[in-house]
């Protein structure tokens, strides 16, 4: 099971995701409320996996993903997305995202994606 950093600008989504991941036996090592904080937390915590919201204030998810990948090319980042954001997610995949989960989150799908990305 993995050590996971959750990045989302709302506490609501972070809590939701935290509980899903926790129920799957994962360890939530940290949370960040925007892209800038995400990079700092990533460097500090070196998590096995990051769940990254796409739309966030200041530094958005794509920029944060790029910055994290620049700092650690082996970083495993899963994008948290919603219907209508396909183009953004494609950009993220091209920038090195390893997976994606779609809001509203379905716990089994989230856990499956996390497991697959962690084991890859």
């Amino acid at each position: 099971m993995g050590r996971i950093l959750i990045v989302d600008d709302t506490m609501f989504m972070r809590t939701l995701l935290k509980n899903i991941l926790f129920s799957g036996g994962h360890d939530i090592v940290g949370e960040a409320a925007d892209g800038a904080e995400a990079l700092a937390r990533y460097r500090e915590l070196k998590p096995d996996l990051v769940t990254m919201d796409v739309v966030m204030p200041n530094v958005n998810g794509i920029e944060a993903l790029k910055a994290i990948k620049a700092s650690d090319p082996s970083a495993k980042v899963i994008m948290c997305t919603a219907v209508g954001q396909e183009q953004m997610v494609k950009l993220a995949v091209k920038s090195g995202a390893r997976g994606y989960i779609v809001k509203p989150f379905q716990a089994p799908k989230v856990l499956e994606e996390v497991k697959n990305v962690l084991s890859a």
Partner: protein, 652 residues
């Protein structure tokens, strides 16, 4: 672990923040401030609201926010202009969202009933616009150089993507990308381009050359929502021009130098963001109230301990207790501080009101707010909201003139409405000032007579201040007609009553042709006040010090009976005298007088003794006790007694 209720609370709380953000930025957009930031913020908040409501299963709200997000997506891309009618539509949407949040907070799940037509309208907006728009495109990966043809075995994979997958194009893209990491994709059927655009139905084939072995390929090709239907060694020789090769896969090479975030910059932002995170935590208001109650209990029990220590004269105990006392006092002050909230919380709603009323009346108003950071006890916030709303509505509706009239008066066409809040030594002062028509005392004079509030003679000789104070009399309105904006059956008399219930006062100054200014003076908190402790018929009672004018000794002979009541002549002033017998019973020898005042009116009561002054925590009467005329609350001093606090307002 979080339960349903916990999620709901958090959802409502964060949704309200986002809702407010949308409203404020819509207004900012209209006023022509930094457009791009406002548009980005609205888009972001609508998107966040959509995601959160979808997660909670609040479909109606999700649909509405989704439609708003779509509209702003177009605006952001410059495909749509923000017009006044669009702003109106969007503001109506925010009103609906607010209503939905109220319903959700109350435990419901709003239906599409209210929002359905709005969604239609928003959709009409986006569809009309997007007809001839090219699809937003993302940057395609640059053409990949040809790989070196080595002699790794080739395989054909037949793969299917789960039909329930929400974004099968991205799933395909991820699969291809993951396969690239362990090999070189030679070709796909249909083409890689079609796969990445989601233009495929059913299974597809991938021809890959890889030295990683079948097992590795199986693992990668059986990811989320992907099933590997077939894997076979391929006889075909490596193709000449592979799509991509694995050396290209290091992600940092995919980074455009100009779009990659320079890490130094990120670090700097991080610092300030981090400190924000640490500085603020969310606490449930009810928890805070419970904590406050506990602190109050602690204060009361400290007082009891002090009495015990005094009685037994134990020096060591006394010293320890004084240390405890100091900590308790600090704790109490701290808790009071935590209960304080910046006035912004209610001020933020007002620009919207000004806009609506001004639009409705065809007026132009520049509304400025200063001192929103001034703090007030949380418990007073709710009560203050309506009076402010009323005054602001009045100012735009009745105060500020239409641009045409203003021009003929030599004023700028745009009226100014200023709201300022500040803290002086003991009070919070809120001023609302407009540069409108002011209130005509002659009109007031006529109205006073026609309403029978004054005789024609009295009205003729009445001073301006007396006339203006009539505004606060029930049923007195200066507007010639009652409008649907200001005249909602609530007058300034209700405003005054509400402010008085918050222990505040309201004053108005007006100058014909120059404008009107309302001044609200409020205590920053109602929970802790200075009181004078007195004994009446052997029972203790507390009087707020702010209401006490003086304490005097008097002879019974100075008391005169006027009809059914008593009065006393004190320093050439006749003051009504109350003995509070119905509350405390008749006292034998109450010859100490306490002169009380509220809002300029005075009276006096008789007491046995005056015990002194002290700071106390006032608790409201419990709901079981109900409303008790003459008593505004109770306090529990050190000895554990329950002492009523007099409500002087009802006596004078």
């Amino acid at each position: 672990m979080f339960d349903e209720e916990g999620y709901r609370k958090l959802f409502v709380e964060e949704s309200r923040e986002n809702h407010e953000n949308i409203v404020n930025n819509l207004l900012a957009l209209e006023s022509g401030e930094d457009q791009q930031t406002a548009i980005d913020e609205i888009f972001r908040s609508a998107h966040t609201l959509k995601g959160m409501s979808a997660s909670m299963g609040f479909d109606a709200m999700e649909h509405l926010c989704h439609s708003m997000e779509d509209v702003f997506s177009l605006i952001r891309n410059g495909q749509r202009e923000v017009t006044a009618s669009l702003t109106d539509l969007l503001l109506t949407c925010t009103d609906t969202i607010e209503g939905m949040l109220d319903a959700i907070e109350a435990g419901g799940n709003p239906s599409d009933e209210q929002s359905g037509s709005l969604v239609q309208e928003l959709r009409a907006f986006t569809e009309e616009e997007s007809r001839d728009e090219p699809e937003a495109s993302y940057e395609a990966a640059p053409p990949e150089p040809a790989g070196e043809g080595d002699c790794r075995p080739a395989y054909t994979l037949t793969v299917a993507i789960d039909p329930s997958s929400t974004m099968k194009d991205i799933r395909a893209m991820l699969l291809l990308q993951n396969l690239q990491e362990i090999g070189t994709i030679l070709s796909t059927t249909p083409s890689q381009e079609l796969l990445e655009d989601g233009k495929f139905d059913g299974p597809f084939e991938i021809l890959i050359e890889s030295g990683a072995g079948e097992d590795a390929l199986r693992t990668v090709a059986s990811g989320t929502e992907i099933s590997l239907l077939d894997l076979s060694a391929s006889q075909s020789p490596p193709a000449v021009s592979p799509g991509m090769n694995e050396e290209d896969r290091t992600p940092e090479q995919n980074l455009e130098p100009q779009t990659a975030v320079p890490s130094a910059q990120v670090q700097r932002v991080t610092k300030s963001e981090k400190s924000r995170e640490i500085k603020n935590i969310r606490v449930d208001i009810q928890r805070l109230d419970r904590m406050m109650n506990l602190v109050e209990d602690l204060v009361i029990n400290r007082g009891r301990l002090e009495l015990i220590a005094k009685k037994h004269g134990i020096k060591e105990f006394d010293e320890a207790l004084s240390m405890v006392g100091r900590s308790v006092s600090d704790l109490q002050n701290l808790m009071m501080g935590i209960r304080m909230m910046p006035l912004e919380r209610i001020f933020n709603r007002l620009p919207r009101v000004v806009r609506d009323v001004a639009n409705h009346d065809g007026k132009e108003v520049e509304f400025t707010i200063e001192g929103g950071e001034t703090e007030l006890d949380r418990s007073m916030m709710d009560g203050l909201s309506d009076p402010l709303l009323h005054i602001i509505r009045n100012a735009v509706n009745h105060g500020i003139e239409t641009p045409e009239i203003r021009k003929t008066c030599g004023k700028p066409p745009k009226g100014s409405l200023r709201m300022t809040a500040r803290r002086d030594k003991d009070n919070v002062i809120i001023e609302i000032e407009d540069d409108g028509a002011g209130i005509d005392p002659e009109k007031l004079r006529k109205k006073a007579v026609s309403k029978g509030l004054m005789t024609p003679e009295a009205a003729a000789s009445a001073a301006k201040d007396d006339l203006v104070s009539l505004l606060f009399e029930p049923g007195f309105s200066t507007a010639d007609t009652i409008t649907d904006i200001s005249g909602r059956g609530v007058g300034l008399d209700v405003v005054k009553k509400t402010i008085a219930s918050l222990k505040g006062t309201i004053k108005v100054e007006t100058e014909v042709g120059r404008g009107t200014k309302f001044e609200l003076v409020l205590p920053p908190t109602m929970a802790i006040i200075d009181v004078m402790m007195v004994h009446i018929n052997g029972m203790r009672c507390a009087i707020p010090v702010g209401n006490v004018v003086e304490v005097a000794q008097t002879k019974m002979e100075a008391i005169h009976r006027i009809g059914n009541s008593e009065a006393i002549l004190l320093r050439d002033q006749t003051l009504p005298l109350h003995r509070l017998e119905d509350m405390f019973g008749r006292a034998e020898k109450s010859d100490t007088l306490v002169v009380l005042q509220n809002d300029g009116r005075r009276c006096c009561i008789t007491v046995d003794t005056v015990d002194g002054q002290q700071e106390v925590v006032v608790k409201p009467l419990s709901r079981i006790a109900g409303n008790c005329r003459g008593i505004s609350g109770i306090t529990i001093p050190g000895d554990g007694d329950v002492v009523p606090v007099l409500d002087v307002n009802t006596m004078v």
